[in-house]
Amino acid sequence: MEYMTPEKIVELFKEKFNGSIINSKIEIKTAGLKKNNYSLIWIEIEVKDFKEAVNLLCTIQFPHFSIISDNDIGEEIKLTYHFSLYYGEKSQEISLNLATSLPKNNLKILSITDLIPGAQISEREIKEMLGVTIEGLPDLSNIFLPKDFPKDVYPLRKDETGAVKMVNKEEEVKKVE
Amino acid sequence: MTSISLFEILVKIIGAIVIAFLGVVIGLFYKGIDRKLAARMQARVGPPIRQPFMDFFKLMIKENIVPQNAVPWIFNGAPIMALVSSITILLYLPVGNISPLLSGYGDIVLIIYLLTLPAIGMVVGGFASGSPYASVGAQREMVMMMSYELPLVTVVVAFGWKLSQVYPHLNIFSLTVINAHPIWELVGPLGFIGAILLFITLAAVTPGELSKVPFDAPEAETELAGGILVEYSGRNLALFGLADAVKIIVMTSLTVALFFPYNISHLLALSGAFALIVDTLFFLVKIFLVMFVEVTFIRVAVARLKIDQVSFAYWVPVSIIGFLGLMLIVLDTIIV
């Protein structure tokens, strides 16, 4: 298999979505005595091209999808999709972290489960924990929320809809007899 | 029907009580040995041998919960039926020199039927529980029952047939008669192999009859949380435990009666009460050995089979072994 260098990959993305790449960087990490290195790619892209970017990724190789990490930064929620490419051979893997930010007044993103079925659980998690609407998720029923979990609480948000108010405060150290 | 004196009836009743008691005690004791040996093979110390007794006494003081969905009288009746029927079989089994309390025409068929009763008790109890696990367990138990019956019957019929050829006028379908005429002495070389095959068949049926690994699909702890017995507690569970213990004795004694009926007292030129004791002890040793081979060892040495594998195993390979045994015995007789 022909492997593209991280630079090439970033270039490919830039070529295709020039306008919407907000920023990108390549990180080289080393490990061990021999200081072998491996690289990570961080790309942040606008929502409108996000799905296409994943699609592009799939044309390189079917990527391994790990998780979506979330970050509630005030007015926006930033989602980072962690992928990896070129697994299966020694030291060839490239981590690709594809980030995008959703404004809180329009928390919507296209589902990627049609491309990568394995992303389903993670997408549902995001939907549950942050109230992001995942458009095109095969099963849109309200599956993640427990029956008695309040509808307007999204535990991983840092604003007023977060779960801080639900924390069980009784469990404290000072419970002297 | 000959007239039986009142005295005889009284003796039988007392005898039955004594046998029931002894059967239960010895059964629990052997279960303790079984657990101990299994533990030792697994490199553990294992429970003390009297553990089954303690389990029993403990269960007797526990609360007896009848699930809401169950029909109480059936739910509570099932363990009693299982226990009573297994004890009844005991009354038909010869112990060493001592002939069984009840015996007679065709009692071996009776035993086969009685053997199904504890299983039926469990099945009915399982179904009566109204829990899905118990129902699946009960269905599996039924499938098992239907499967191991064919080889079991084959073994018994082979014995009866052989004896009827040699002694056409004896009351052949009776365990006492079979016990008195060891198969090994009646057959030629072909029949000898046949008899060994029959023994293998019976050895394969025994763990199924007792619902032990690899044939414990109905109770499969990891799948069905105890299966048939999930909903049972307290006294009822204790009774099922007793039934199980008695059944171990029943199945091992059956093997002994069919295949190893020999006694040693005459070898030692003993007679009277002493011979009785020696033979009884020898009998206990024999059933211990049989239990070790048929129950303890098999159950620790293999994995549980799935229910379809179980029924396949019984309907095909085990039955074929049984039929082969029967055929060899028939051939043996016809050729000679």
């Binding site: - | 969905n69 025409y105 065709g106 009685l114 009566a128 039924m142």
Partner: protein
């Protein structure tokens, strides 16, 4: 010349008379029809028992119509009997007892059960006629009369099967099927009669038996009679009518139908043993009957296991159980020519087979009655729709358990007693036969455990909130059957020695049969 000499004809006449009286009485009082029927049948029952005692102590009895004395078999000058005569030996009275018990209990059960139907007068008339037909088939000594009674029974059966009305599709269809079966068999029987009459100018069983030459024609007649009677008895592969007929008929009728099919079985044995006996190739015919039996056993039970209609399921079990009777009797027949084997196990096998007839009538009757009770209360026969009924119908549950245990051959119920006789004799003939018989028993057991589970166990279902225990008359009928089942199961020796053994002997000893009629000819 005491009245007791006339008992045989009274047993038949009383129900017949009642059958004509019922519609009249019904005009006066609606309830009276049932009561009259029950009364008539109870009288028949008592008379049958009395007759049985007499026959078993004194010997076979012959009753001749229109002779100077009812026991005068040979009219002056003639060497063979030409009159219509009833000819009752131990075997006939054995069957008669079954008929009497079953029809009496059927009538009692019907008292409550028919509340759901209109036109009970017709129902009871037909029931009585059916009984008359059955008694007739069993008691007659004349092959043509046999045909007549067979027809009476058949017509009554057809009507009863479709009794639940034309508006229900299935009963009518089942009745129609049975009608076809009956007419074909009637035709065949008539044809066989023709053969005999043409050859020997005789219609009397005994007389025929004494002269039969086992010619080519006789063989054809046998070839006609065996399948046809086996068909009426519901043996595989001519069993297809039974599931429909048994399941569509009202429950008490089903119970009587079971007995009626056994009357055909009786006729079959009569033909094979008393008519042909040694003159036929016993081994071959015996094997044919055994094969019929095995097939019935297996196909019946395997079909039963997959049924979800409770009565259909039981019907298939009836087929399967018939197999046991064939098996036992077949083995007996196969060794008929071998006195040593006959003595060693042939007789036992036959005892098993014959005993099983009675036992089957009892427990299968009981099972159909419990099924009827379930239908009566829940309105369905679909097992998947039932459940949790043991919560409401304790006694019915107990009766069902007894019936199921008996049919599966569990000790200490009657099924075990007769099956044991079969197993322990048949294996000496061929060990595989008894292995199969035992396995079928276990399958039967499994099947009934399944039924028990789906109908009686499980949570209380909301739709059955209103379900109550069955009415008393129905319980009574079931209770009586249960008692009989347990009694037979506990004291099988008593029954075998006093009832079954004589019946078997009367089949085997052909000479005795002909002798009673022909007076030592």
């Amino acid at each position: 010349m005491s009245l007791s000499n006339h008992i045989p004809i009274l047993i038949i006449a009383i129900p017949l008379l009642a059958a004509f009286l019922v519609p009249l009485i019904n005009r006066i009082n609606k309830k009276a029809a049932g009561i009259l029927t029950a009364l008539a049948l109870s009288v028949s029952l008592i008379l049958t028992i009395a007759l049985a005692v007499k026959i078993l102590t004194v010997g076979p009895q012959v009753y001749v119509f229109g002779a100077a004395s009812p026991s005068l078999t040979l009219p002056s000058g003639l060497k063979f009997p030409i009159r219509i005569m009833l000819q009752i030996d131990a075997m006939s009275i054995f069957m008669g007892l079954i008929t009497a018990v079953v029809s009496f209990l059927g009538a009692i059960y019907s008292l409550s059960f028919t509340k759901q139907y209109d036109g009970v007068d017709k129902y009871y008339s037909l029931l009585l006629l059916l009984t008359v037909g059955m008694f007739g088939m069993e008691f007659t000594g004349d092959i043509f009369n046999f045909f007549v009674f067979l027809e009476i029974a058949s017509i009554a059966s057809v009507a009863l099967i479709s009794f639940r009305g034309i508006d229900f599709g299935e009963p009518a269809e089942a009745g129609f099927k049975y009608m076809i079966v009956s007419s074909i068999s009637a035709l065949m029987v008539l044809f066989a009669i023709g053969i005999f009459y043409g050859q020997y100018d005789l219609l009397n069983f005994a007389a025929l038996a004494s002269v039969i030459k086992y010619s080519q024609l006789d063989k054809i007649a046998l070839g006609l009679l065996i399948p046809v009677l086996a068909m009426k008895a519901g043996a595989v592969p001519m069993h297809m009518w039974t599931p429909d007929a048994y399941s569509e008929a009202p429950a008490p009728i089903t119970m009587i139908l079971v007995a009626a099919s056994q009357a055909s079985l009786y006729a079959l044995f009569r033909v094979v043993f008393s008519l042909y006996n040694i003159s036929l190739n016993a081994l071959t015919v015996g094997w044919i009957i055994i094969v019929f039996g095995l097939l019935s056993m297996f196909i019946g039970v395997t079909m039963a296991i997959v049924q979800k209609d409770i009565k259909r399921l039981m019907a298939y079990h009836a087929v399967s159980q018939t197999g046991y009777m064939f098996l036992g009797v077949g083995v007996g027949l196969a060794v008929l020519a071998n006195p040593e084997a006959l003595k060693n196990y042939g007789i036992t096998a036959m005892e098993g087979g014959i005993f099983h007839i009675m036992n089957h009538a009892m427990y299968k009757g009981l099972l159909f009655l419990t099924a009827g009770a379930l239908f009566f209360r829940t309105g369905t026969r679909d097992l998947n729709k039932m459940g949790g009924l043991a919560h409401y119908m304790k006694y019915t549950t107990i009766f069902f358990i007894i019936g199921a245990a008996a049919i599966a051959g569990l000790p200490p119920f009657n099924g075990f007693a007769s099956k044991l006789l079969i197993y322990e004799s048949v294996y000496r003939f061929n060990p595989l036969l008894s292995i199969m018989a035992m396995v079928v028993s276990i399958l039967t057991l499994a099947s009934f455990v399944k039924v028990f589970h789906s109908a009686f166990l499980g949570p209380k279902l909301p739709q059955f909130k209103e379900v109550k225990e069955t009415p008393r008359s129905m319980l009574f009928a079931m209770a009586v059957l249960s008692c009989i089942i347990i009694f037979f199961g506990l004291f099988p020796d008593l029954i075998v020695k006093n009832l079954v053994h004589p019946a078997v002997m009367s089949l085997i000893e052909q000479l005795q049969y002909t002798g009673t009629v022909l007076g030592g000819m």
